[in-house]
């Protein structure tokens, strides 16, 4: 028996109402399958495999010369733009230095809202008061601020939901990194390797902002790798190993990979003799507990000069099935 036409139409109408509302939410599943939505860019590196590669083909080598200006957004900042925009269903989310977040219409560049954050004047980044962008889950954005706070914002209105102090800005800590959302956690790392910090990567509950785990990039007394800090007795406490590029995530192994920065003091290795683990390394952490430091590799052993940046970690191989 055929259902009456009116009911069918009503059902279609209901479905058409529901779909856009569901789509508006960036679920964990959408983040995992972000490669299936090339028109969106839902995390700093595009996908958890951090390839930063778009499969869109409308712009290609043959027509790239024809690109012309469509719109300009003028930032209220003279600082460098280092933000990677997120684009979700036509809305572009960017940061404006030092630590503002904005929602723009991706088609016109017009502003929906601006969240203005005024970092503590104690924040003193070494190399520019920059910010590299946001993370999103559901309808919540995550912003790491220059004075080392992690803030959750309502993506629809730009209103703050929670604000957690990750580290003490007056002790040299800063954040310029775009956070990474994995499951129910948002993961960040701290900058400040030039100011005597001890670097760490930490995960926070997306709902409450409470810290779930913290991994120190410089091992403390009794931890494996602590013996690689010789010279001054407290060298490890100020050993650097800062974080300023966003990690990647391999769902099959439940590991998150982060590149760490230089050891400190960067130009004076005499104070920190040894291999200085885990500076200038790639660390792999269990996303639920941070424990199980698998396959961490120091990329530039016993460094005396600082490399330009930490490493981008791209999981390759059978688990991630990523081709680079």
């Amino acid at each position: 028996m055929k259902p009456p036409m009116r009911s069918v139409l009503f059902a279609v109408f209901l479905v058409s109402l529901v779909i856009p509302i569901l789509r508006a939410q960036v679920s964990n599943d959408r983040l995992l399958r972000s490669a299936d939505e090339p028109r969106n860019w839902m995390m700093y590196s595009g996908t958890y495999a951090s390839q930063r590669y778009s499969t869109l083909s409308q712009i290609n080598p043959s027509n790239v010369k024809n690109l012309e200006q469509k719109w300009i957004f003028q930032a209220e900042s003279l600082e460098k733009f280092e933000t990677t925009p997120l684009v979700v269903d036509g809305i572009m989310y960017i940061t404006q230095a030092p630590s503002d977040a904005l929602a723009l219409d991706a088609k016109t560049g017009r502003v929906f809202w601006i969240y203005r954050y005024y970092p503590s004047t104690d924040a003193r980044p070494c190399c520019g008061s920059v910010n590299r962008g946001l993370a999103i889950l559901g309808d919540t954005l995550f912003l790491a601020t220059l004075d080392a706070h992690l803030i959750a914002l309502d993506a629809k209105t730009g209103r703050p939901i929670w604000n957690t102090r990750v580290a003490n800005a007056s002790a040299g800590y800063a954040m310029t990194v775009a956070p990474l959302v994995v499951k129910d956690k948002v993961i960040v790392g701290v900058a400040g390797g030039e100011f005597g910090i001890r670097g760490f990567i930490a995960a926070y509950d997306v709902r409450t902002g409470r810290e779930a785990w913290r991994f120190n990039t410089i091992p403390g007394p009794g931890e494996p790798g602590h013996e690689t800090w010789q010279g001054q007795a407290d060298a490890w406490e100020h050993g650097g190993g800062a974080i300023w590029t966003t990690g990647s995530y391999d769902p099959a192994l439940n590991l998150t990979y982060w590149g760490t920065g230089n050891p400190g003091p960067d130009w004076n290795p005499g104070q920190r003799e040894g291999d200085n683990l885990y500076s200038d390394s790639v660390v792999a952490l269990d996303t639920d507990t941070s424990s199980g430091l698998f396959n961490s590799r120091q990329m530039i052993p016993t460094i005396t000069i600082r490399p330009k940046s930490p490493f981008w970690s791209i999981p390759i191989g059978t688990a991630a099935r990523a081709s680079s």
Partner: protein, 253 residues
Amino acid sequence: MVRKCCLALAVISSLVGNRPASAQYSQADVEAGYTLYNANCITCHGANGDSIPGVNLRTNQFRRVATDAELNRLIQTGIPGTAMPPGRYTTADLAGLVAYIRSMRDFDTIAPGRGDAVHGQTIFEEKGNCTSCHRVNRKGSRVAPDLSDIGAIRSPDALRRSLMDPTGSMLPLNRYVRAVTRDGKVITGRRLNEDTYTVQLIDTEERLVSLVKSDLREYVVLKTSAMPPYKEKLTSGELDDVVAYLRTLKGAR
């Protein structure tokens, strides 16, 4: 020592001098002034009289005028070279405006201490059905302004006015717009941002929408609030409770 005493006396006398000042204005004048203020001044000066940086009408201290006569004259002449325009009012209207501006602070001393905030929250969420449009601490719709920090930015009196007379106390910032696209699609929402050529809003489905005005068949700014007046819906005691609850909302940060 003598100087200190004199200073203390001067401070006391100025406080005493300010207090009964409002008593000289009749309630009718103050009420007339309130209506005029909401019609003419609120756009720039705000419901609390403090929307312009550096100008807070509620302090009763002004940069350019001191006496009522001077205030009266300033309202008529405006301030050349600033956004304060000259205003044409009858003598009675001017008396009302001065009376209301001089009494703004006293208005707010009425409400504090009254009302039960816990009961107010229940009314807000149930009988008043406020969360069907307003959001407080992640609960409720985003269609109307988020009230999570309303207690920090509005006086109790302004909150009460908004409940009693939503349209009269609605800030232009919060006006809704109605747009009809060329293919007949009707979009209604709260304006977030607007320039000469485009408008950005949050629609009734809580979606962020950006429109190019030249693509629209119709574009109207709605000056009537979608919020029902609660004057009749709630008792005076219930209004006190809701205001008491709203006053506790100070925001996440």
